[in-house]
Amino acid sequence: MSPPGRPFHPERTRDAQDGPSPQDSLIDRKAFLRRMAILSGAASLGPLTTTGPLLASQDSSQEILAGTTRRAGPSARTAPWPPTVAPAASTSASQATDPAELTLVEAATLIRRGHLSPVELVQAYLDRIDRYEGLLQAFNLVLGEEALEAARALERTPLRGPLHGIPLAIKDNFFTRGVRTTANSLIFQDFVPDYDATAVARLRDAGGIVLGKTQMGPLATTRASTPGGERTTVNAWAPFDPSVSPGGSSSGSATAVAARLSSSSTGTQTGGSITSPSMAQGLTGLKPTLGRVSLHGVIPLTYTRDHPGPIARDASDAAVMLQVMAGADPADPRTLGLPQVPDFVQAATPVIRDGEPRLRWPTTIGVIPGYTSPTVPEFAGQWEEALEAREDPAERDRQRERRRRRAAAEAVARGVMLRTMEHLGARVVEVELPADWETLTSREFNNVRLPERSEAFLEFLRRDVRLFGVSLSPWINGLLLSGDEYLRGQRAKQLLLRRVLEDLFAQCDVVVQTAPFPFDMIGLPLIAFPIGTEASAGMERPIGAMLGALPFGEERLLSVLAAYQATTDWHRARPPDPAGEVDPGSGDPGSRAASRGRIDAREVMDLTQ
């Protein structure tokens, strides 16, 4: 890695660019800054006025799945899937005996070519759900019959779109027409919307099948639990150890994809809820730029920070999901006046030059100070504080040792990932953080989001605070920030955004991150992906990394990941199926969760999104 501003391998910066410039290089950064300022203001005003367009329109009306051919590569982790071994093999990298092992793109391709039927695929997922859902508790509600009926209907119809016949898991804060949508909250326990969220409607229109609604942290806070705080979803990589976090709050969505109970899933991120579970479970999760995906029909948490997005097995799958979910929606003004949705699938298609995967566009990756050190300072303090609250000294020591080993493994994996990126043609540079970074990205400034949710839910707070269950604290705390403090916090957020755009991204095109904020504070895209595994206490657990980008830098992020995943196979690693006796489990997730322990008060505050 080179010092600030100086490339480690200057000759690699001369790589040819493949195709037109990515959207992030054409964006008017000041216009984005202005737009975000207005959005913050709109949060207090209600009805939203959007600014003018951020970019001249671009024609990207290409068939979504066109050009999704992936480089066939060896997989040491899965066995051959017969139909793809023959001439069609060039469209399939994964080689699986069970259709549920196929990636979304592979399954969609096989369906399109008549090698796999939607009913076969849905049934394969339902079979796995029958076997493992009792243990994993990824779902609030499995819509088995409805999914099979939808699959049968799709078999009788021409190709609906890129997701024709693909079963998807939907986080339970997305409205689903005629299906209970609870957000795991007592407030919405009987809520049955009469329309689909825009994102869900788009997924269905593209041929997607809603397989079920996934477990989540109550109202999209914390890891998945019942409203009362009993843990529900477990990490698919440690299904017998509920203390291993599945990541929150889109926990069920991540576990469903990691355990092959669903092809891909939807998540929402206000404070890490797409990227954190993706990192925890070896998945590729993409939190898009604020407004790229409509929030209409999603139970809100913090209007200026809520981002719907996909949780997927790899960059290609995430690209297809985002391609379908993204776009203007008159019902969500945050989506209007934005650059036209580009071709994410093209961006996520690896570029091969001279027989080797290379970056599609010349890209400089910024590395923040301490990134490859075993301890990341901004995490260490909070973690120690949480640990001190535990009463058992032996448990504290065990946790410290586990964390030390984990940090060491993460440091190694990050270093290897950066060297791989350099090999792919990236320029990797150390970056200087903008002024006041530590302050402006601190938990205290992150808390400025809280009054928005308190105000939105005030009616329910007045009715009965017990409706908020284990997640009550942040709603109460949001009522305690004064107007002047809220305003100053909002302006500080704008200052941070300006400095990130002007100072941080003057040094690089994408930047590694170790925490979901500040990128989810300031609406910039963030992608999480696996870069290794760590063996601990007899378990193999994924190690993840995150890259952040400029506004509408999803193309850039996907292109970097496409090259990375064309030359590595961490994204192909799957948690083994739970062995031994697995409770077939059915019925109420709350009763099943009783033996998994509770989220304690400190954990709620630490995990709150």
Partner: protein, 84 residues
């Protein structure tokens, strides 16, 4: 807020909540088995008040966006011929 006692902060918190119609008295006083109790909620609120507002107030905005300068004045917009 760092100088206030727990009792003073609790009084402040409860008065503020009462003023907006939020009632914590429906929660158990101190029950670790309950999803939330008054003791935990007040402890969290005290920590919040001792950390977040002071940190925000302590950050100087001088020389930055002290006023909402990004907002275009109507006359500016008219001169540029921008549509409303």
């Amino acid at each position: 807020m760092q100088d206030f006692t727990d009792a003073e902060l609790d009084a402040y918190i409860l008065a503020r909540l009462r003023s907006v119609g939020v009632d914590l008295s429906v929660l158990p006083e101190d029950d670790p088995e309950a999803p939330a109790d008054r003791a935990r909620i007040l402890e969290s609120a005290r920590r919040f008040l001792r950390s977040t507002p002071p940190a925000i107030r302590a950050f100087s905005m001088e020389g930055h966006e002290v006023s909402p300068v990004l907002f275009a004045a109507p006359s500016t917009a008219w001169r540029r011929g921008e549509s409303s």
